[in-house]
């Protein structure tokens, strides 16, 4: 798993991701270098994360409130959000 220096990141969840994890947001200290590494790390913690992150292709990720992708670097990012595809309009 890609690692970097541990940093404190706000992790935010929406819609059914939030419901499965049971939290709207949490602070995580992690050395994960990418969102993909971060969800692997969280999924190893507790089954509820595994249930939320089971299929990354059904998820979207935003870094500091900009839509991004699961292999983007987390270095310097303060807020990571995971959510299902949007249904606005």
């Amino acid at each position: 798993m890609a690692m970097t220096d541990p940093a404190r990141i706000e992790v935010v969840y929406f819609a059914w991701v939030r419901e499965r994890i049971g939290l709207p947001r949490e602070s995580v200290t992690t050395a994960a270098a990418t969102p993909r590494a971060l969800i692997a790390e969280l999924s190893a913690r507790e089954p509820r994360y595994g249930a939320a992150f089971a299929d990354p292709s059904a998820l979207r990720v935003a870094l500091d409130r900009k839509l991004s992708d699961f292999d983007a670097p987390l270095a310097g990012v303060r807020e990571v959000a995971f959510f299902p595809p949007m249904t606005g309009g």
Binding site: V12, F14, A15, W16, R18, A62, R65, K66, L67, A81, F83, P84, P85, M86, T87, G88, G89
Partner: protein, 145 residues
């Protein structure tokens, strides 16, 4: 340009009043989305959003539409929270010199907001709740722009 992300109900007709006045406007298009009950068993629509990101994303698309289609004015209102059947969900208005630009800008905004603005809809019904799934056709619609 005006963008509003709000829990409060709004009146599309009242929002249209005074929109797009000015000597270069020849065409105004509005789109209003309304809570619809297809099953006869829906009680409400709950809309969750990502405060801070939502406003920024909508403003980015509104600016992009204004530039690309030469709009003289643009308005986007989108609600969040709990909405009853028949209530307006959101509204887009575009003002341009010619009808094609006004129509295209409104459709461009709708297509992008549908799949890129961080809102999530949940239908609340007599039988329980369910998140509305994103449609492939909405993602496909982006291909035209």
């Amino acid at each position: 340009m005006r963008v509003s992300v709000q829990p409060d109900r709004f009146d599309p007709a009242a929002e249209m009043a005074g929109f797009g006045t000015g000597p270069t406007t020849g065409a105004v298009v509005t789109f209003t989305g309304i809570v619809r009950d297809d099953t006869g068993r829906m009680q409400a629509l709950e809309i969750e959003h990502y405060p801070g990101m939502t406003e920024a994303v909508i403003a980015d698309y509104a600016r992009a539409a204004a530039e690309r289609f030469g709009l003289s004015d643009v308005l986007v209102i989108h609600r969040h929270g709990r909405l009853a059947i028949g209530e307006p969900i959101m509204m887009v208005a575009t003002a341009a010199r010619h009808r094609q630009a006004a129509f295209e800008a409104a459709e461009y905004l709708m297509d992008w907001l549908k799949s890129r603005a961080p809102f999530w809809k949940k239908e609340v019904g007599a039988d329980g709740e369910s998140w509305v799934a994103a449609k492939d056709s909405d993602e496909d619609a982006l291909g035209r722009w």
